[in-house]
Symmetry: C2
Subunit: 388 residues, 2 copies
């Protein structure tokens, strides 16, 4: 397999972008990534787009062709491919582009992730997001993404003594990190009390335990490593790309306090990169809910199972701690335009590994990891990046 | 790049399958393909699923994880990826699986395509299918898939003198072919008068010029060629896999009588396979409308531009003719469960190349081609298969 590097990144602000359509956001992020890579559109061989549900959010399927068209790339008739795995759609797009280059089929690939969520009402958005779970055995009975994650939280508290306060500290930390990120949807610090007193969504989770509905897009330019040095002085190498699945419905699992798909993908990724969790200095993990981040840092091997809550409480996952988790603010504070999220994670890792993260910079980072999850852990994608 | 072969095929009947859910159809086709390949599920490394709009048809996104779950493959946590490019979703899934094997990442991959269309009403289905076109500049003004293709037909008649009767002959031929296919949705011959007198849908196209709404699923098992011989005496080799894009909206094209994406993908595919259109004995092309088949056989180089209608009229594309086109019955008679269609095309080509097509067998076929189209030609996928 050929080695693959990231040579360009681009991202829009995340938030309620009422002035920008889906296609406009996609193009803004894509063109920013091409400009950053100093690559002209004629050099692009293919495009991948991660998107969960444009069909329902904006009544538009076929969105990869749409973005190729409006960015001018359809002029050269390049292959444009949309991939979807609910919340993991962005990471999945990165991985398919990685495989397309590793195979030798393409040299230079643009990957975009986008979602336009605020054109529909909150109830409709909730229904759309719940279509990531099992429609026939979960959603149809009223189970939603928050309620499924609330069950996980309750069980984690029961099984490991994790406290409500520890879970809430994830939001406090990620809002702090978000305050250093000019593209974040929320750039204001919050305190523990604010999280604990926020309106309940699905007990024990309150409003501040949930990532927001967001509009936004992110893009990266991937290139075969041998050609990457023509464009970038310090290309960022993709050391591992791993993906795993699990049962769609939560009730089919032996243990709902662990996402086996994350564990499986992580094990595979560490093997590919030939490193272990102790070698990672920073990670972007899928905190669509506060409890999800606790599961993630345990399942990725950063902390022992059951000790994640304590680690967060002790500040071990904060900037300056043992491992900096979600320096971008995570889904919670940076925002979560579903299809864009997995690509935005890679944008953050590359920013950090290039030493361009400003106030939120992790010093001397060598290895960085992204974990992107679809549904209630039915899909997990893990990437490990490093300075080439 | 590693070479890739097809070692197993499976397909459901296409039609109004009111007794089968989306997941049931997916599993039936997948297990049939695994049984045909004599591969156990433990040997499968990854799964790709082509699907256009389960989000709107059955309120379920994340369908690759769903199929992995219900087929038992999630037990082994294999990567499960859904891809979408409207009508070309199935061919796209084949291509991504091909790249995953060619890259060296995976050895054995199952590809499924599925769509459950008849759980919604015809008007809703029409709206969903029109989301393959440009929502902002086509669909929102009332343009639908039939009306866009009707404009193409009118222009082709004007520009090349193609007659209404020639266009209708595509349906007559494909119903004849479908009458030899036990899995086809329509297995009854029709005559020219029936097509010409059918209720108008979008002038000049009538009901019998349009592929039906269908439920159905198809699956294939792909394997690296070096391992394929352990399973199959005569594995069918994928000689070329090509994909191209074009503007999403029809009005952005210089010429609506040709699909540049098809031409571009075909050129690329012939180059990869190192053969020309004259070497192909049979082809499955994307006849979602009768006029589409005429464009296809011209754009693929089987007949000169403008001569496609005459070729059909003269029987050159019939079984026993110069090149056998849509021996399965095509989208018109076999049926068109959108995401399944591109995979069903490969199932037909493999059946033919294995000499297992019974009454519709093309004798001594060596090279076979599949052309799968998304929207009004904004995505085209071309595969060429041959006996290894």
């Amino acid at each position: 397999m050929r080695e693959v590097a990231v040579i360009g990144i681009g991202i829009t602000k995340f938030g309620e972008l009422w002035d920008s359509s889906f296609r406009e956001m996609g193009i803004m992020a894509g063109l920013a990534a091409l400009a950053d890579a100093k690559v002209s559109s004629e050099e692009v061989d293919a495009m991948y787009v991660g998107n969960m549900s444009a069909g329902r959010y904006i009544e538009q399927e076929h969105v990869a062709a749409l973005i190729a068209d409006y960015s001018g790339l359809a002029r050269d008739h390049i292959p444009a491919t949309r991939v979807e795995a609910a919340g993991a759609s962005g990471g999945l797009a990165i991985r398919q582009a990685y495989l397309a280059i590793a195979s030798g089929m393409h040299d230079m690939v643009v990957v975009g992730g986008a979602e336009k969520m605020t054109d529909v009402g909150d109830m409709e958005s909730n229904a759309i997001q719940s279509s990531a779970a099992d429609q026939q055995w979960e959603s149809v009975f009223g189970a939603t993404s928050p309620s499924l994650h609330a069950m996980i939280a309750r069980r984690h508290m029961f099984q490991y003594g994790t406290t409500r306060e520890q879970i809430a500290q994830v939001a406090v930390k990620n809002h702090l990190h978000g305050s250093f990120n000019p593209n974040a949807q929320f750039q204001r610090e919050i305190d523990l009390k604010t999280v604990l007193r926020s309106p309940p969504v699905a007990d024990p989770l309150g409003l501040f335990d949930c990532a927001p509905n967001s509009d936004g897009a992110a893009a990266v330019v991937l290139c075969s490593l041998d050609k990457a040095r023509r464009y970038a002085e310090a290309p960022i190498k993709i050391l591992a790309s791993a993906q795993a699945s699990d049962t769609l419905a939560l009730h089919s699992r032996a243990d709902i306090c662990t996402f086996e798909a994350t564990r499986f993908a992580a094990r595979n990724a560490y093997k590919q990169a030939n490193i272990g969790p102790q070698d990672i200095q920073l990670a972007e993990v899928h905190d669509n809910f506060t409890i999800s981040e606790i599961l993630a840092i345990e399942d990725l091997g950063f902390f022992e199972k059951g000790k994640g809550g304590k680690a967060v409480e002790d500040g071990l996952t904060k900037l300056g701690g043992q491992i900096a988790v979600n320096t971008s603010g995570g889904l919670k504070a940076r925002g979560d335009p579903i299809g864009a999220t997995g690509v935005a994670q890679i944008v953050e890792l590359v920013t950090q590994l290039r030493n361009q993260a400003g106030k939120r910079q992790v010093p001397n980072a060598k290895y960085a990891l992204a974990q992107n999850v679809g549904g209630t852990g039915a899909t997990a994608i893990v990437h490990i990046l490093g300075v080439a």
